[in-house]
Amino acid sequence: MAALSRAGATPATGWLLAGAAAVAVPWVAGNPFYLQTATVAMIYVVLAVAYDLVVGRIGALSLCQPVFFAWGSYAAALLATRGGNPGFWLEAVVAVAGAVALAIAIGVPSFRLSLHSFAIGTLGFLLIAQLVAVNWISVTGGPLCVVGVPALAVPLGGQRLTVLSDTQNYYTILAIAVLTVAAIGLLIRSRTGAALTATRDDPVLAAARGIWPLRMRLTAFSVSAAFSGLAGVFAAHFQHVVCASQVDIPINTLLLVMVFIGGRASLRGVITGAVLFTVLPQVLRVADAWRLVIFGVLLLVMVTTVPDGIEHVYAGVPGLVRRLLTRMRRSVHHGAKDG
């Protein structure tokens, strides 16, 4: 019986174990490349969890998520290189405020559209943003990028801490990721979260119950944009360079894959998806030229064989543990009888 109740309590234990594993990464990762990959994985955890708030929670297939990420990066890079390097807090405020403003500017017209039209409408905004990033050379550097972004400086109680080493970078983004997951986790468990789900499942019924669908959708879209912008601030300082390729379709495609293969509207699934699909292409580097071909084939196989993605696997675990335990107990009983 004790074993059964422990199996039922796996979620909390699972989160603690995952957290411990994330904290332990710098000790386990033997070389800088692994640690840098882990850092990129954490950036994608932030982006994917934020993206899932739009795709999973309100069921709107947005294709302009990189706009907010790139906005955050460009804002941070320009402030750091030309704006007197004011440090993390001001950069974060500018990035988040700008991302929210962008989200409202894109969201108000786009949410008039239904599923597929919403997708292509937001994609239109992404491509326009990309054209601006490529062609507004005096600000973004165009194809030459914004280069020489210094390491992240965090003014803290009169001091100015600089995030220099790989380990410091990793813990910084880990903190941002934990903040994002906690904030979005709390949001979706709140009344607002229930209203978001209601809006997704039946907007008409939700409206009849006094929930204004557009407001809910804009809320989710803005919160999602805010965290993406924050991830952008970190990414600019981590990569030391911001290019127009950051506001491109492949990033959105990767996020889609992470969310859909991970399992929409499932935090644990999306986080696993984000880590898996950052690490997988790196692992496939052993087959250099073929790696993206293999990646695509794996994707195709996964999407056609695993019904609801990784979340489906997780959801199956408690039942599996219970069945294993009963079987073990039964075999023990049988063993006792035979003896």
Partner: protein, 290 residues
């Protein structure tokens, strides 16, 4: 005036390309219910087939072009069997990821097999120029427009007259009713993908003469074709074709008179404005959600 007419010709040629892709996308969406995000890659495969026909098999352009369209029929069948059939009837998320995965595989397979350097093909018609009313256009452009219109006429006849074409239109209206009266839903889906693939083949046999062949040439084309489909009203083949030409004209005009760098911004701007004024698309019917 001559310059303006030149731009109209450019726009119509660009539009032919978008319309051929959009018609296939709209047909596949109408019949199989799937948005094929790898449709531009079918165009890319066709372009490489043309290159292969000319350079490896040593065929003259006309034979290589016919070869290309014929090759695209089994390619479409294969595409249906591997990508579309396994996710037919699944949720839109799975269909989206499956076709995106197909796109990733096709682009990178092309990079591995053919290299990322651009390839070129030549047509004897490209160098021959006709002058009509002060407007210069190469005979290749005449060929592109002629073949595109011919393809659409054939498609229209098929959809309106043939038994299978009528079945497709019925499917686009009501899937379950079609299944109930014994219309072979999956075979219809296969046929739609094959026709869409052949239309991409027509584009792939004609357009690359004017430009280069690269593994990534289909990426933006899928998006513009999709934009035309949405603008025309989802699943409406005629609307998709008309919008394809409209987007081509907008792009050519923006490129000539405003800025070549921002031409695509005008294309998507036109799309966004259209959707804001008519969310159901130019030819779609408004549906009341309640």
């Amino acid at each position: 005036m001559g310059f303006f007419l030149d731009q109209v010709v450019n726009g119509v040629i660009l539009g032919s390309q978008y319309a051929l892709i959009a018609a296939g996308l709209a047909l596949i969406f109408g019949v199989a219910g799937i948005v094929n995000f790898a449709h531009g890659e079918l165009f890319m495969v066709a372009a490489y087939a043309l290159y292969l026909g000319e350079s490896a098999l040593g065929l003259p352009y006309a034979a290589a072009a016919v070869f290309t369209v014929i090759v695209m029929v089994p390619v479409g069948g294969l595409f249906y069997g591997v990508v579309i059939r396994p996710v037919a009837g699944a949720g839109w998320q799975k269909q989206l990821v499956a076709t995106l995965a197909a796109s990733i595989v096709m682009v990178n397979l092309a990079i591995v097999l053919a290299g990322s350097l651009p390839k070129t093909v030549s047509s004897p018609l490209a160098a021959r120029v006709a002058v009509v009313g002060g407007v210069h256009f190469s005979l290749q452009r005449v060929l592109i427009l002629g073949c595109t219109l011919l393809s659409f006429a054939a498609l229209h006849m098929f959809l309106m007259r043939a038994k299978w074409g009528k079945g497709m239109r019925a499917l686009a209206q009501n899937r379950s009713a079609c299944a109930a009266v014994g219309i072979p839903v999956h075979r219809m889906g296969l046929l739609a993908v094959v026709i869409g693939s052949a239309l991409a083949g027509v584009a792939g046999a004609l357009i690359p003469v004017l430009s280069n062949i690269t593994p990534t040439m289909g990426l933006l084309l899928t998006i513009k074709g999709f934009a035309a489909v949405i603008m025309g009203g989802f699943g409406n083949v005629t609307g998709a074709i008309v919008s394809g030409f409209a987007l081509g004209l907008v792009e050519a005009m923006a490129m000539a008179y405003v800025s070549s760098a921002y031409a695509d911004a005008f294309v998507f701007g036109a799309l966004i404005v259209t959707l804001l004024l008519r969310p159901q698309g130019l030819f779609g019917h408004a549906v009341r959600v309640s």
